[in-house]
Every structure is written in structure tokens, then in C-alpha cells.
């Protein structure tokens, strides 16, 4: 359906450079760390310390988690960007001839 492609046509794609072996475990660990920090049950019963004198810990801690999530995503983009999705969209070389 839709924009059908010929299934039999083989599309040679340029292989993406393999990622370093440490990248996947590192990113997974980072994700687990962020998720653990989000579950800050140790701060459950207290508003202290108040950041700047008015922000309870249950709030500013979670704000820091959000900032950490942004940093984590930057690392995902840097280390694990799905380049192959763009490569698969490149027209076959014979179309350029």
C-alpha cells in the first residue's frame, strides 16, 4: 500500500560505523541512574533543605532530575544517533547515474 517499493529490489546501504562496545551499557546505566534519582523516596517526608529559602526539596530535586534528563538525551544524541535511518532513505546509487 501507499508508496510501494519493489520488495525484490536489493538496496545496498552504506554500513554505519559500529558503535564502541561501551556505549550501550553506559547509556543504559545512565538511564537507570536518572530513573533511580527520580524515585527519591528518601526525601518523602521532609521539605528540607529549602533551596534559596523557598523551594522544598521534593521540587528542586525533581527539577535537577529534569536537567539531568536533558543532559542524558544530549549524550544519547551524541553517542547513539540512528544514522542508519537517514542512510536507508538515500536513493540507490544507480539513480544518480
Amino acid at each position: 500500500m501507499l508508496t510501494q517499493e519493489d520488495p525484490s529490489a536489493s538496496r545496498p546501504t552504506r554500513p554505519t560505523a559500529p558503535r564502541a562496545a561501551w556505549v550501550a551499557p553506559f547509556l543504559l546505566l545512565l538511564l537507570v541512574l536518572v530513573l533511580v534519582l527520580r524515585h527519591d523516596f528518601w526525601n518523602w517526608d521532609t521539605p528540607y533543605p529549602l533551596l534559596f529559602g523557598f523551594l522544598p526539596i521534593g521540587l528542586w530535586w525533581q527539577a535537577l532530575v529534569s536537567i539531568l534528563a536533558s543532559i542524558m538525551m544530549a549524550l544519547f544524541v551524541r553517542l547513539a544517533w540512528p544514522h542508519h535511518l537517514e542512510e536507508e532513505l538515500q536513493p540507490p546509487p544507480d539513480q544518480h547515474k
Binding site: M1, L2, T3, Q4, E5, P7, S8, R11, T13, L31, V34, L35, R38, H39, D40, F41, N43, W44, D45, T46, P47, Y48, L50, F52, G53, F54, L55, P56, G58, L59, W61, Q62, A63, V65, S66, I67, A69, S70, M72, M73, A74, F76, V77, W81, P82, H84, L85, E86, E88, L89
Partner: protein, 636 residues
């Protein structure tokens, strides 16, 4: 009235931007691809802001600040910080692949992807039906929020029905004419506006409250140990005193199952500082309950998975010009959430210690007339406090600031807490500024545009085109007709259910849990070669029946619900000594950990996809090779 006029001017600007965006589009003007996915040509800036804007609804501002008013600062971590983790990840892994497959094969909806990927026809229609049914409540929220915002900003001059009608008409118009490009431009404008003026609102309200440091410190000081006698018994104790498990559900349907000890009312309102924590206000009390149950908190992590399964978000992923547009989007997304939710939640929580705000919300609540009849002097006092005729420092106001009357006033205010942000604007910001800030809130409220467009896209592509409609012009016009019809239906429902349901629970109960449970279907389509259409069908039916079942259980256990949100839940079904289903104030939860019902739904959905797939034939190798051209060692 000045704020309302400014909001109306803002609506006119939005209408202009939306309608004329489509005329600015030269390439492919009038084509289905242009109307539904803006020719897949949005740049990074518009893509980020419009994607984010379409995900922010009235729920993000009115709902979150209202919930923080009732439940405290925990709302931010519960909903926002986890969204800042899960949504960018799902866009990174799923959104990019939806974009790539859409670019490659021409998909404009998720169902088109499923039909192509799994070589199926009518099963796709079943998925469409479920998605559409779950999206409608979300659209209704937008109309409700619009009505409430205009009503609040105008100080009641513009009635709810008119406000909702105006917002629905504006949204309908620019979606009708502008399609995806118009919607994306409007969303970009709205997000920018909210980010800028939301910050200003935060500063003004914070100053109006009278110094956050003093206010918060005085709230925190109220968190001193209290006598245990006034506290609720623990759920375990109440369970031990309850009826035999096998009869619990039927009993709950006919009469309150609460034992005498469970029904004992709270004799004093919680301290003001309770909203600053998520746990027990008095940890030394063995009967004390967490304000936010840890199981509820943990299971909430599944809810943001709904984001990528919402049709409007998935369709937005198809509008990016390049894959690189996703890069900044996923990095900045958590910060955008932080910028909008953090002030809304904090101000909502702090407002719960402000007598004038509480009194305002109380006298505008639906329960106030009954209270006025029962206790005219107290009601008159509340009105004086709300209208500024007396202040919290006056001796005359003292009866409202402690004891049972304080509890009554807070209870009334809690029932109307979605209006807290608007009330604070009215109280603390001058007229013109209140109007600008009201327009900023309106910007968030009007996110229903992308949902209406998504639903019409699904109609045109998944139904009309699937059943033989090949003319692009007719597709677009059928979608436009659908926009009108769905907006009218949403408006009628928003009027009908307004007095029965608050914004937040409506969305959570039906749309978020359902869409989150559909995530395994999308993950299987994109990452598991061996997945089949029967697995997708099994999961879809499981989700549909789960939602139906929960709705029935919820309806039949109204009498078993705690009277107020701060009371612990009641057990409505158990196996032996193990509580399975609990009736909370306005939802059903799972096990004594009080997990959200999305947890069993999600696990069941995973099992259905897995079992349904391994027991049936996969699609042809040709199809699998089209979707998985690379040799991957994973997920065969």
C-alpha cells in the same frame, strides 16, 4: 472585562496565523500531504515548539496547578520530571523511526504503518476505533479548559458555555483552513507565548503572595508532630476489618464497605505545609499515610509512554523535514517541560496556604450554594474574605483560618482547584497584564487543535482512503467535514460532563492509560521482526476490554470511594488476604501499593503482543525486509 478583551484579541491573532499559514504554502497546496503533514517540511525550530505545544494542554497548567493545590509539590515529580525522561526517549527511539518509515513509504498515520508492516486491513480499523475513542476525551479537555479560562479571566462575565464555544470555534476554523501547517504555526506561537509570559506570571504572582521565602517557611513550620488520634487508620488495619474478599466487590456496588473505624472523619484539616512534602505529615504516627503512595509514583512512569502513541504526537513526528530536527527536540524537551510545569506546580501548592485564594475558589465551587444554605454566617464570611472586604489578618476572619471551618473552606476550594491559577492572576496581576497572562494560559489550553487535526487525518487516511477514497481533494474535504463534526461533538460533551468530572482524572483514566498500554504494539512493529497482526489485535482488544472493565468497576463503586482525596482508599476486590483492586477518591488502583491501573494493562498488553505473535504466522519475508533492511542480531 479588560483581560477578556485581550484574550479575544489573542484568539483573533491565532485565527489569522492559522488560516493564512496554508495560503503561504506554495508547494503542494491543497494536497493531502500538505494538509495532513505539512509536506513533511517543518524545520527544527517550528518542529520542536509545535511538537511540545501540541503535547501541552490545559491539563499542563490548569490541571497541574489545581492538582498541586490539592496534593502538593509532588505533582511535578509525579508527572513532569518523568515525562522529561520518557517522552524524549520515546521520540528518540520511536519517533525517529515513525518519521523514517513515513518518509520512505508515505504513511500519514500510525494505523497506515501497522497495516503496511503487518499486512493487515480490518485489524487496523479496530486499532483506529480504539485510538479515536481514547482521543475524544483529550479533545474535550481542551474545550473545557478554554471555557474555564475565558470564564476565569473575565471574572465570570463570559460564561463557561460561551468561552468553550468561542475556543472551539477558533480552533475549528484554523484547523479547517490551515491543516497541519496552520496548526504547527499556531502551536509554535502559543508555546513561545507561554514560555515568555508564563515566566512573567510566576514573578508577579510570587510577589503578590508576599515573598515566597516567608510564605514557604511559615508553611513548613506547620509540619510538627500531631496527636495520632486524629489520623486515619492504615489500609492494612482497615482491610483486616473489612468484609470477606469474595463479597467485597458486590458489596461495594450497593453499600459503602467501610467499617466504622474506616469511616471516622478527619477531625482537623491537614497542616498548610503538607503540600510541601509527598510523604507523611507526621511520620511518628503509625496510621499516617503518604500523600502520594510510592507505588502510584512508580507506576506513573508508564504514563508518559502514552505520548508517542497519541495520534497527534506520532503524526507530528512525520512533519519534520530532516531527521536532524529530532536532535534538539529530544535534548530541549525536558527543559521545556521544566519551564512550564515547575512554576505552575509551585504556585498551585503555595496558593493552598493563601486564605484569599482558597476563599475565592470556595465561593465559586459548585458546593458553595449548599454550604451557604447550611451555614449562612460562615458563607458570608468566606465571601467577604474572597472579595477583599476583610483580610486574613483581621480578627473577623479567624474562624475561617482554623478548625472545622477551615477544613470546609478548603474542601470546597479543592473541588474547584483547576481555577487556582486564574484566581491568582485575578488577585495579584493588574487588568491588562492579567489579560496577557490569561492569553498565555489560553495558549496552552488550546492544544486540542492538533488532536482534532489528528483525528480528522485518521478518518481521511485510515477509513476514507482505506475504503477506496482515492481523490486527494476529497480526502482533504472529508477531513475538513470531520473537523467540524468532531468539534461540535466535543463541545456538546464538554458542556454535558463539566459538572461531573475534573480535567485531570478524565484524561488519566481513559486516554493516558490506554495509549500507554498501546506502546508495546508500536514497539513490536518497529523493533520485533517476528511480531504479527494477531499480537497487535490481541493487545488492542485487551486494552479496550480493560478500559471498559475499569469504567464499569468505577461506576459501580462510587459509594465505596473515599469522601475526600486525602482519605486512604477502600478495598473493593481481593484474593485471600491480598488486596487487588482499591477504590480511590476518583479512580481505581491496583494492590496495596496503589499502583495505577496502567501497570496491569501495560503488562497484559506486552503479553498479548508476545503470545499473539509467537502463536501465529509472521508477515512475508519481503515485508520484513522492507522494514528491517539492515542485518540486526537483535529482536528476531
Amino acid at each position: 472585562m479588560v483581560p477578556a478583551i485581550i484574550v479575544f484579541l489573542y484568539l483573533a491573532v491565532v485565527l489569522y496565523v492559522g488560516i493564512f499559514a496554508f495560503r503561504k504554502s506554495k508547494k503542494g497546496a491543497g494536497s493531502a500531504e500538505e494538509f495532513f503533514v505539512a509536506n513533511r517540511s517543518l524545520g527544527t525550530f517550528v518542529f520542536l515548539l509545535s511538537l511540545f505545544g501540541s503535547n501541552m494542554t490545559s491539563f499542563a497548567i490548569l490541571g497541574s496547578s489545581g492538582l498541586a493545590f490539592r496534593n502538593g509539590i509532588g505533582v511535578f515529580g509525579l508527572m513532569a520530571s518523568i515525562s522529561g525522561i520518557v517522552i524524549p526517549l520515546s521520540i528518540f527511539f520511536v519517533g525517529t523511526r515513525i518519521w523514517a518509515h513515513g518518509k520512505k513509504f508515505g504513511h500519514m498515520t500510525q494505523v497506515q504503518l501497522f497495516r503496511d508492516r503487518w499486512e493487515m486491513g480490518h485489524i487496523g480499523t479496530v486499532i483506529f476505533a480504539l485510538q479515536a475513542l481514547m482521543l475524544i476525551p483529550y479533545i474535550i479537555i481542551g474545550v473545557m479548559g478554554g471555557g474555564e479560562t475565558l470564564n476565569g479571566v473575565s471574572g465570570g462575565t463570559v460564561p463557561y458555555w460561551l468561552g468553550g464555544g468561542v475556543v472551539a470555534l477558533v480552533v475549528m476554523s484554523y484547523v479547517f483552513f490551515g491543516g497541519m501547517r496552520g496548526t504547527a504555526w499556531v502551536n509554535t506561537l502559543q508555546t513561545l507565548m507561554f514560555l515568555v509570559f508564563g515566566t512573567i506570571a510566576f514573578i508577579i504572582i510570587a510577589r503578590g503572595i508576599g515573598g515566597l521565602g516567608v510564605t514557604v517557611q511559615s508553611m513548613a513550620d506547620t509540619l510538627k508532630p500531631q496527636p495520632a488520634a486524629t489520623m486515619q487508620p492504615s489500609m492494612t488495619e482497615r482491610f483486616a476489618a473489612s468484609a470477606p474478599a469474595s463479597t467485597a466487590l458486590s458489596a461495594a456496588a450497593t453499600s459503602p464497605p467501610r467499617s466504622a473505624i474506616a469511616a471516622a472523619p478527619r477531625t482537623v484539616p491537614p497542616p498548610d505545609g503538607a503540600v510541601l512534602i509527598r510523604g507523611k505529615t507526621n511520620p511518628a504516627d503509625p496510621h499516617a499515610q503518604d500523600r502520594i503512595a510510592k507505588g502510584y509514583w512508580a507506576s506513573y512512569a508508564l504514563i508518559p509512554l502514552s505520548s508517542i502513541m497519541f495520534p497527534h504526537i506520532a503524526i507530528f513526528c512525520l512533519t519534520a523535514k530532516k531527521l536532524s530536527s529530532f536532535r534538539k527536540t529530544v535534548i530541549l524537551y525536558p527543559l521545556c517541560i521544566l519551564a512550564i510545569w515547575f512554576p505552575a506546580v509551585f504556585l498551585g501548592a503555595v496558593a493552598s496556604s493563601q486564605p484569599a485564594v482558597i476563599a475565592n475558589l470556595a465561593i465559586e465551587s459548585q458546593g458553595f450554594p449548599a454550604f451557604q444554605t447550611a451555614n449562612p454566617p460562615a458563607a458570608a464570611l468566606m465571601q467577604k474574605l474572597a472579595h477583599g472586604e476583610i483580610t486574613a489578618k483581621d480578627a473577623a476572619a479567624k474562624p475561617l483560618l482554623a478548625g472545622p471551618l477551615k477544613g470546609e473552606m478548603k474542601k470546597l476550594a479543592n473541588s474547584n482547584s483547576d481555577g487556582v491559577m486564574l484566581d491568582m492572576l485575578r488577585l495579584f496581576a493588574p487588568g491588562v497584564l492579567a489579560g496577557i497572562l490569561g492569553a498565555a494560559i489560553m495558549a496552552c489550553v488550546m492544544a486540542s487543535d492538533s488532536q482534532i487535526l489528528a483525528l480528522s487525518t485518521m478518518w481521511a487516511e485510515d477509513v476514507y482512503r482505506f475504503h477506496g477514497g482515492t481523490s486527494e481533494a476529497k480526502q482533504v474535504w472529508s477531513a475538513r467535514a470531520f473537523v467540524v463534526i468532531i468539534t461540535i461533538i466535543a463541545y456538546i460533551i464538554a458542556l454535558a460532563v463539566h459538572q461531573y468530572s475534573n480535567i485531570f482524572e478524565l484524561a488519566i483514566q481513559y486516554a493516558f492509560s490506554g495509549y500507554a498500554s498501546m506502546a508495546p504494539i508500536m514497539l513490536a512493529a518497529l523493533f520485533w521482526k517476528r511480531s504479527t497482526k494477531w499480537g497487535a489485535l490481541a493487545a488492542t482488544l485487551w486494552i479496550a476490554f480493560s478500559l471498559l472493565g475499569i469504567t464499569i468497576i468505577q461506576a459501580y463503586t462510587v459509594s465505596a470511594a473515599p469522601v475526600v482525596a486525602t482519605q486512604p482508599p477502600n478495598i473493593i476486590f481481593s484474593l485471600g488476604n491480598l488486596p487487588i483492586l482499591l477504590r480511590e477518591y476518583n479512580r481505581v488502583s491496583f494492590t496495596e501499593f496503589r499502583f495505577l491501573i496502567v501497570l496491569p494493562m501495560f503488562i497484559g498488553s506486552c503479553l498479548c503482543v508476545y503470545l499473539g505473535s509467537i502463536l501465529t504466522q509472521p508477515p512475508s519475508l519481503a515485508t520484513i525486509h522492507r522494514y528491517f533492511p539492515r542485518k540486526s542480531p537483535l529482536l528476531h
